[in-house]
């Protein structure tokens, strides 16, 4: 999960803000889980429904492959590998902070103020808002597809590749989390623009399901250098699958995911702070 950055000018002087954020996040999450569990039947139904429904996503790809052998030069197991990694990472981020898009609503109806009155970081509270375990459905489905892909796909399992896979999932989740935080922060200025965030999160997850060769080169450049979604799964996956990347970047870039994710988190953290500061000076 994302932690509110430490130190800096506007100084929230709570000692150990990262640990404090994690703690507050867990406290709020627990309350939401208990709330959902007070409607147990409803929870079971929607959790299952969520799992089944996200499977339709992958079914679309399977249907495409009922007409063709390969898409953009990738076989079904290879596309499934992309799908599984993208979906798992996105699912994790969605599970952890999927309610960031409600921030605009909270600003509008004034309930953000009640969060700011508590002695714990606001970001942690907003991220944990409406925590829904049913979102685990997407993660499970992503992992299942990934498992199937790993069984069918032809990867040369060197030590490096074995290590790269879990790192990729975590890095991907971190990049999506950063997008969620940045999107949330953006709503301090444009509360109604929550949709833009969807184009990067849901849109990004859809994009990354397909081989990069399918897309126009400028689009691929955009998601490599501007919003670095390519680091979620494309670059490491291409390496694992032994395929060249369409931009012809140097090989070490495939391993740059972790630092890129860190930079993303730091930038989104700064944006968040700027958002909070703006809220506190405008109150709207």
């Amino acid at each position: 999960m994302e932690a509110e950055p430490r130190g800096g000018a506007a100084g929230e002087r709570t000692p150990g803000t990262v640990a404090e954020s994690v703690r507050a996040y867990r406290l709020v999450v627990r309350m939401w889980m208990r709330s959902t569990m007070s409607y147990r039947a409803s929870f079971v139904m929607t959790a299952f429904g969520n799992f089944a429904a996200t499977a339709l996503d992958f079914l679309t790809i399977v249907l495409m492959f009922s007409h063709v052998e390969a898409l953009g030069g990738f076989s079904l197991p290879e596309v499934a590998f992309l799908y599984g990694t993208a979906s798992t990472s996105f699912g994790l981020a969605d599970l952890l902070m999927g309610s960031m898009d409600r921030l605009g609503e909270r600003v509008r109806d004034g309930t953000l103020d009640t969060l700011m009155l508590r002695p714990v970081p606001v970001l942690a509270q907003v991220a944990a808002d409406r925590f829904a375990l049913r979102r685990l459905g997407r993660v499970v489905q992503g992992l299942l597809v990934l498992g199937w892909a790993l069984w069918r796909v032809d990867v040369h399992w060197t030590v490096l590749n074995v290590a790269l896979l879990p790192v990729t999932l975590v890095v991907g989740a971190a990049i999506f989390c950063a997008v969620y935080v940045a999107g949330g922060a953006f709503q301090f200025w444009a509360g109604d623009a929550a949709q833009v965030q969807n184009s990067v999160t849901y849109g990004g997850a859809t994009l990354l399901q397909y081989p990069p060769g399918v897309f126009a080169r400028d689009l691929v450049r955009g998601v490599t250098f501007v919003v670095p979604l390519a680091f979620v799964n494309w670059l490491p996956a291409l390496r694992m699958l032994g395929r060249p990347d369409p931009l012809g970047l140097p090989g070490w870039v495939d391993f740059a995911g972790a630092p890129v994710a860190l930079v993303c988190c730091a930038l989104s953290g700064l944006l968040w702070r700027a958002g909070v500061r703006s809220y506190r000076s405008t109150g709207s």
Binding site: G11, M31, S35, Y39, G110, T111, D113, R277, R280, G283
Partner: protein, 324 residues
Amino acid sequence: MTVTDSAEPMIAVDGVEKVFDVRRKVAGTLRRERHQVRAVDGISFTVPRGEMVGYIGPNGAGKSTTIKMLTGILSPSGGRLRVAGIDPSRDRTRLARRIGVVFGQRTTLWWDLPLRDSYELVRRMYRIEDPRYARNLDACVELLDLGPLLDVPVRQLSLGQRMRGDIAAALLHDPEVLYLDEPTIGLDVISKAKVRDFLRTVNAERGTTVLLTTHDLTDIETLCSRVMVIDHGRLMYDGGLDGLHAVGESERTLVVDFAHELPPVEVPGARWVRSEGPRQWLAFPAGDSAAPLVTALAARHPLVDLSVREPAIEDVIARMYGAA
């Protein structure tokens, strides 16, 4: 913990301003014009430890903006603020441990969970030690009659019960200052009385400093010895309730029952308002004594009965706003 010198006021507000940039659509065009709104326009006051102050004014006068600055949610555009020795906008989270806030129309309780669970969250968030938590919870439960409600999901509570629950939630961590925004809004008479009794007790026994915003002037009359009136972002009045009447040029009403029907009487220092059979209503400045008036009347006509009616504070404030 900051050690606050007990001589230092609990709340110190010095020339505080809050200016908002507002974009407004220019009528008939697509252009938007920027202009500044001074929501709080240079306010100064202090509240000593343990005082209970009413903070009143019409909607949009700047009350909630002030409260938001005092809690650190909003940063002031100018001036200096201290609450319990802390600068709210710099140290919001540290201040949060030392203040309690109740927004009358916005519950902080968890809708689907029993009341008790919300209190557990407060305990963990504020890191309240077990004995202190148990003591405070017990006290609140007893004084606010929360016992039978602790295991009821909040969504099943009535408005009055929920408000009592919210007030308790704001006091579990022993705040030194309590901000109450419309704590009795929408409550029935019995709930109102319960809330008021409780606040009086808390103030008296724990010495909690209370700043109270309300539209119900009975709240102020029964709880606060001091009242501040704000309008258009400025402090219009700061003092006792009686003084408010003088400033507001309010009038008391003398209701006189004469022995028989009379034409409107004329006495110096009073104004005839209306007649109804032998009864007449005469208005006179609230600051004056009724005695000379009664003497003058009795000298001219036989009187059967007399009563003096106090002015409603709503009218007093309305007059003040009218004058401003």
